[in-house]
């Protein structure tokens, strides 16, 4: 990942700063969701629970009240049963159907004995005649026998009984300590006698004490006057405890005729001042009231128990809610976190990891998209890298090529530079551009050679100032250069005032002889002007030129950096010798030259010359003028 590496530090920088921020926000989603779930479910639980609790509480309370009421009713029923039993016994005894006339005392006695046997609550039974006088008496504790001196004709028991129905006396206490009730029933018929019975109410105590009212509760009976007549604690009764001040008793007494529905168990205080749940019911016919009391705490215990249970359940449920909320939030947040982590990784440049989310929902889709994006990024990265690599390579190659080229150009330039020294510029360019230096290799060819130098130069250079010499040379060379350039000659060498130029090499020039001659002529005319100027300056100089043609060996000689492209052969000598022989303004040519240019030039014969290096004298000619006489401007 070369390219990416270069960029990586940058991207990592940005992801780091983001990562720090992300870490700060980390857990926020989880907390949010967990809190949301917990609050939501918890809220519902609490609300529902509270509502339920309140309603149930009401229900329970009503229920408890009803239960207490039922208990009171049951107690009343039991006691009514007791009274009813006695009533029944008495009625059966007194009103037993008879066939034969009035009852004899013996019969009555027998009946009463049976009554005594069958109704253990009866302590005494006695018979009052129509005048209210006791005629018979049977007692368990006192002597039998009528108390003749007793006149009960005005006694309520006598009077009320004769009015009809069973008379119930108010509860009285025998011996100041025991509750008794007198019941009286009259015979049937006109002017009846009355049977009275003393009923020991201690037996009601049995009933009352057996009535179970929870664990701490009790039932007790109160008469019409608010006197306690039966109580599980018999001593309370025997002590003649007055309970009429208790609120529930007061209420019950003031509204005895209230219907069943209106009677409601209520919170009251018992004789010890404790709070109790009290219910009551009336016992008719005696007109007593039975109370059922239960300590409030005990009565409400189921209620409290229920509340406690509900509360405990609520706490457990809330606890479970919290746990579940955490778990749920985790489930939801985990894939999101995975996505976040994956995104961070991708931002950090790690493109090779996949985000794994398996929730089977939109989050999984999202993860897939991320992974897809990651792989696309990877691909584009690698493509980019490849391209960059490629480009770099290409660039390097181009560089290389460029360098090569430049080197080559430099080389070429150098070569051109070098070649230009002795080759015609066009030729030099041609050779360099073609890159073909083969034509510079040694070879034999027929060439035309032109030698020229300045007459009297040596003595001039000795006598004149160097500056003057250089000046003269400079002018001379300028003309020379122009001539050579114009006629495309190849310079063999320069030597001060002398120069050797040949034609037909390296480029073939079919009319090389003509070219050579024309150049010579041009030179003569050009330099002629200079000569006149020099003469005026006081220098006596002239130009001599020799032209020859023949075979020579041409090639480069010399060493590295100082190559000369020159011609070796007798033709060069010939041209040199001819030049030496030429006077100022003369162009001496050999006969072969003449042979090649004779239509073009006018020449004059100069005879034969004996030239050094040549065995035979050489006929030479002087070129007077070109027949087409192109006069160079001076």
């Amino acid at each position: 990942m070369v390219a990416v590496d270069a960029e990586a530090p940058l991207s990592r920088l940005s992801s780091d700063s983001d990562g720090v921020a992300a870490r700060r926000r980390r857990g926020g989603l989880f907390r949010k969701y967990a809190a949301l779930f917990a609050c939501l479910v918890g809220g519902i639980l609490v609300t529902g629970g509270a509502l339920e609790g309140y309603l149930s509480f009401q229900d329970h309370q009503a229920h408890l009240v009803v239960i207490q009421q039922e208990r009171a009713k049951a107690a009343a029923a039991k006691i009514e049963g007791f009274i009813g039993e006695i009533e029944h016994q008495l009625t059966a005894t007194v009103r037993a159907p008879r066939l034969a006339g009035t009852m004899t005392p013996e019969q009555r006695r027998g009946d009463y004995l049976r009554l005594l046997r069958q109704a253990p609550a009866v302590l005494e039974v006695s018979y009052l005649d129509a005048n209210g006088r006791e005629q018979e008496r049977l007692s368990r504790i006192s002597m039998d026998g009528p108390r003749g001196d007793l006149d009960l004709s005005q006694d309520p028991r006598f009077l009320q009984a004769r009015r009809g129905g069973i008379y119930y006396s108010p509860v009285y206490f025998r011996n100041e300590s025991e509750p008794y009730l007198t019941v009286a029933l009259a015979d049937e018929g006109r002017d009846p006698g009355v049977t009275t019975a003393e009923i020991n109410l201690k037996l009601i105590w049995d009933i009352v004490s057996r009535i179970q009212v929870g664990r701490g509760g009790r039932a007790y009976v109160v008469d019409r006057d608010g006197q306690l007549i039966a109580d599980p604690d018999i001593s309370m009764v025997l002590r003649r405890t007055d309970v009429s001040m208790l609120p529930q008793v007061a209420v019950a007494r003031t509204a005895p005729a209230r219907s069943d529905e209106a009677r409601q168990a209520a919170v009251a205080r018992d004789s010890q001042g404790r709070q109790v749940l009290a219910a009551y019911d009336t016992i008719d016919p005696p007109g007593w009231i039975v109370f059922v009391e239960e300590p409030l705490a005990e009565a409400l215990a189921p209620l409290y128990g229920f509340l406690l249970r509900a509360l405990a359940l609520l706490v457990i449920a809330l606890g479970a809610t919290v746990v579940i909320s955490l778990a749920l939030a985790r489930r939801i947040v985990r894939p999101i976190r995975a996505l976040q982590a994956g995104a961070t990784r991708i931002a950090g440049g790690a493109l090779d990891q996949r985000i794994e989310v398996r929730t089977g929902d939109e989050l999984e889709d999202l993860a897939e998209q991320f992974n897809h994006m990651t792989s696309e990024l990877r691909t584009s990265y690698s493509t980019l890298e490849n391209r960059v690599e490629q480009r770099t390579r290409e660039l390097a190659e181009l560089n290389h090529t460029l360098e090569d080229r430049v080197r080559q150009q430099v080389d070429d330039l150098e070569r051109v530079g070098r070649l230009r020294r002795y080759l015609a510029p066009q030729l030099a360019d041609l050779i360099v551009s073609s890159g073909d230096e083969s034509m510079l290799k040694s070879h034999r060819r027929r060439i035309s050679v032109v030698f020229c130098d300045l007459r009297g130069f040596t003595s001039f250079s000795e006598a004149a100032e160097p500056e003057e010499v250089m000046e003269v040379l400079g002018e001379y060379h300028a003309v020379l250069g122009e001539a050579i350039r114009r006629y495309e000659g190849t310079i063999a060498y320069f030597q001060g005032d002398g120069v050797m130029v040949f034609f037909n090499d390296p480029l073939p020039q079919p009319d090389h002889a003509e070219g050579a001659v024309r150049m010579a002529v041009f030179l003569r005319e050009g330099v002629a002007g200079l000569v006149r100027a020099w003469r005026r300056r006081g220098h006596s100089l002239g130009l001599g030129i020799g032209v020859a043609v023949g075979y020579a060996t041409i090639g480069r000689i010399g060493f590295e950096e100082r190559y000369e492209y020159t011609a070796i052969g007798s033709v060069a000598n010939m041209a040199a010798r001819l030049c030496a022989e030429a006077a100022d303004g003369q162009i001496l040519i050999s006969e072969p030259v003449q042979g090649m240019v004779e239509e073009l030039v006018e020449t004059e014969q100069l005879g034969t010359l004996t030239l050094k290096g040549f065995q035979h004298p050489i006929p030479a000619l002087n070129v007077v003028t070109m027949r087409d006489a192109r006069r160079p401007a001076t």
Binding site: R109, G110, L113, R114, L116, R117, P120, R140, I141, M143, G145, R174, N175, S177, E178, N200, K202, L203, I234, S235, L238, R239
Partner: protein
């Protein structure tokens, strides 16, 4: 009741311990009742166990039947008393059923064990801090007439119908 059982009795002895307040009360009550019933009473006070023999001898001589008061002394010496009564062929009425179980002729009284249970309850309350002066006196609620059939037969007594109706226990 003794008079009813033995209509022919004209004199009835009463065995009682003057040292016991209970007996004193009972003796007074019996005295009051005797006129109504129509019998003469022979007081036979006994203070010690060893006086019992002489007492019964006196009773046998001077009366037709004997009434044994109900007290601790009598209860403690129940065996002896019953034995003496049988020995002297004296019809006796006792205060408690237990005498009849041992061979006495008849008894009319309250349920002694029940009374004792009630007493235990009272003692419990006193021990728990109740003041005896505040505790009410409780009267008995049930009265038993117990009769020993065998003794009756032995003594040759025909049981009157009136008493039959009131009998609660028959011991054979």
């Amino acid at each position: 009741m003794l008079k009813e059982a033995i209509p022919g009795a004209t004199t009835i002895s009463v065995l009682w311990n003057p040292s016991e307040p209970v007996n004193v009360v009972e003796w007074d009550a019996i005295q009051g009742a005797s006129t109504t019933v129509g019998v003469r009473l022979l007081s036979v006070p006994v203070r010690q166990t060893d006086e019992l023999g002489a007492a019964f001898a006196t009773a046998r001589q001077g009366s037709d039947a004997i009434c044994i008061t109900g007290g601790a002394f009598e209860s403690n010496n129940s065996d002896r008393i019953v034995q003496l009564a049988t020995q002297h062929r004296l019809p006796a009425v006792y205060g408690f059923r237990e005498f009849v179980a041992k061979g006495g002729l008849m008894s009319y009284g309250t349920n002694a064990p029940g009374m004792y249970r009630r007493a235990a309850g009272l003692i419990d309350r006193i021990l728990k801090g109740a003041k005896p002066s505040e505790l009410p006196v409780e009267q008995p609620t049930s009265f038993d007439l117990a009769v020993n059939a065998q003794t009756a037969t032995d003594l040759g007594i025909t049981w009157p119908e009136s008493l039959n109706a009131r009998v609660t226990d028959v011991i054979r």
